[in-house]
Symmetry: C2
DNA sequence: TTGTAAGCGTTATCAG
DNA sequence: CTGATAACGCTTACAA
């Protein structure tokens, strides 16, 4: 292993000087800088992470905690995170957490011992428990979820997004729109979206009809059937995740209902899943990658990351159309 | 920060003794063990990763390099990796590499500087370049790919699996079976699977008809149309990835061909994607999670990881049936 | 069974 | 502008 002393002796300077030029500090002549750099290059010197970590009080790893649920969403956020992290010379350590956050404490502990520069939570709220095990030195931020008050986060206005989505369906002429809600425990995302739907329906003077899924594919078919049982004349269903939306499209197909002729379907998030069904799913887009980038930027900016609301966008593809009855 | 000296003085012993009990070494009385453990617990002592890493020559991170391509596959392997790693007290650092492996060298460098205990490559072959940047101390293993000779790997017998898949279609009565191949550059997976298909077709005295995709969803529809242009009477298509298989099912639907009545479709890998289309995709399963677990076990076993061939399995779901003409 | 002390490779302080 | 030197927290001979 080549150490800073090797570089120093080859360049004919002291280790301290090497450290200075390597870290871009001030206090050396141009000439020594050149000599040191030559030596560094010649010897392929790389500072030792552990020695450095021991001295300094933090490392350059950023932790990301992603739920195994909604892989596609997390994956897109990750792209952004990774990009921004790499740009800033940071490495990303990803932990996937289970349904009941089984692994989260373990990961957080690891991240703390690695003196992580910060951690990003995807689609998960920051809990006091998390704050506690992480210690107070490590900044924390949530992505794709937010409550607008308590913790640093980057997300969209979920209430408004769901409101807009419902409005779109209403504008198309639909009057009976069912909502396929997500896990009700997710009060910060699903409950909020649900509110947006209810508001739009109420404004239109239409009754809300909804059933709970859990955001995942498999939860959608049964929920869809409950929805249809409640109102067999539904002409549109708004699913609060693309996975559920895709499942609805497929299930409708299976039971012989044509999409979008008989029933329109609208998804949520605009993950890759939305384009992996036929017809491709109309959905509400969140700027997932950008949110990931922003998360690392804010995390590293040292100032309080605060809350950031990103714009959402309606994307119409093949699953939304006016209802048959509107002709 | 609480250090080993704090624990030592509280327990009334030396730092060396604390180190010994913390690391489960020998050489202390039961009584001191108890005292030290009490002190550790009372002070919430945690050994400093960096100080330890500086002394010892390796850390307990396992690196995983996954292609952004085929997220679903990587995700399943990751589950296994994570599980086994956690079991052994290791942390997992995930790096996603681009199409042209853009990030791979950077990640590998990071992993080396973190003195990673080993790195796992998902669906990627170990190149001399990788070996070089990683240094010779870090063990490396590939998962879901193998060439059976040169590098440590865990995978299935791709030739045989593709052969079996083709045989299945043949046994159903199909005679005109098109192959939707993957990236031809992937000589270790796609080229091998292609060989299996060719062998089965040759044995059946049927002509091979194939087109290249790149394993991803979007590459499939155009390739499917080329396939259909070559032989409009195809009654089955075998796609060498579930994403392509799903795309074929959807595209067939779009152009008005019924699956499986008019055309059967068989996928490959048995990722979650296979169940996210309607009808659900019949496919060849690889024990992805198990492969991930095994990868870490072998990586950490210190002996040469060697090559391991896992069993594959045909899973018939809704997209394969006898051809119409067989009645 | 236990303690002392010498590093591991860096960075930071303080002289020069 | 540069060089000694003292930590950082831990492990491990080597002594006792």
């Amino acid at each position: 292993m080549v150490t800073i002393r090797d570089v120093a002796s080859r360049a004919g300077v002291s280790p301290a000087t090497v450290s200075r030029v390597v870290n871009g500090l001030v206090g050396y002549s141009d000439e020594t800088k050149v000599r040191v750099e030559e030596a560094v290059a010649a010897l392929h010197y790389e500072p030792d992470t552990f020695a450095r970590g021991l001295k300094m009080k933090q490392s350059s790893v950023i932790g990301v905690l992603a739920p195994m649920v909604s892989d596609a969403l997390a994956s897109q956020v990750m792209s952004g995170v990774e990009h921004a992290a790499r740009e800033g010379g940071y490495s990303v350590m990803l932990g996937r957490t289970g349904q009941g956050s089984t692994f989260a404490p373990g990961y957080l502990r690891t991240l703390r011992t690695y003196r992580s520069a910060g951690v990003i939570l995807i689609s998960a709220a920051i809990t006091p428990e998390m704050r506690r095990v992480l210690g107070s030195n490590v900044p924390l931020i949530s992505v794709a979820i937010r409550d607008g008050i308590r913790f640093p986060s980057i997300g969209i206005d979920d209430e408004r997004a769901a409101y807009d989505g419902t409005k779109h369906l209403l504008a198309l002429g639909h009057e009976r729109i069912g909502l396929l809600a997500g896990d009700p425990q997710s009060t910060l995302v699903n409950a909020v979206r649900e509110r947006g739907y209810r508001r739009a329906m109420a404004e239109a003077g239409r009754p809300a009809v909804l059933e709970q899924g859990n955001s995942l594919y498999d939860s959608a078919p049964p929920a869809l059937h409950r929805l249809l049982a409640t109102d067999p004349h539904l002409t549109a269903v708004f699913a609060l995740s693309d996975e559920m939306g895709a499942a609805v499209v497929n299930e409708l197909q299976r039971i012989g209902r044509r999409v979008p002729h008989d029933i329109s379907v609208l998804g949520f998030d605009n993950t890759r899943t939305a384009t992996h069904v036929y017809p491709a799913l109309s959905t509400i887009a969140q700027p997932l990658e950008r949110m990931g980038e922003l998360a690392v930027e804010r995390l590293l900016s040292l100032t309080d990351p605060g809350q950031k609301v990103m714009p959402h966008r309606l994307i119409t593809r093949g699953t939304t159309a006016p209802p048959l009855s509107s002709h």
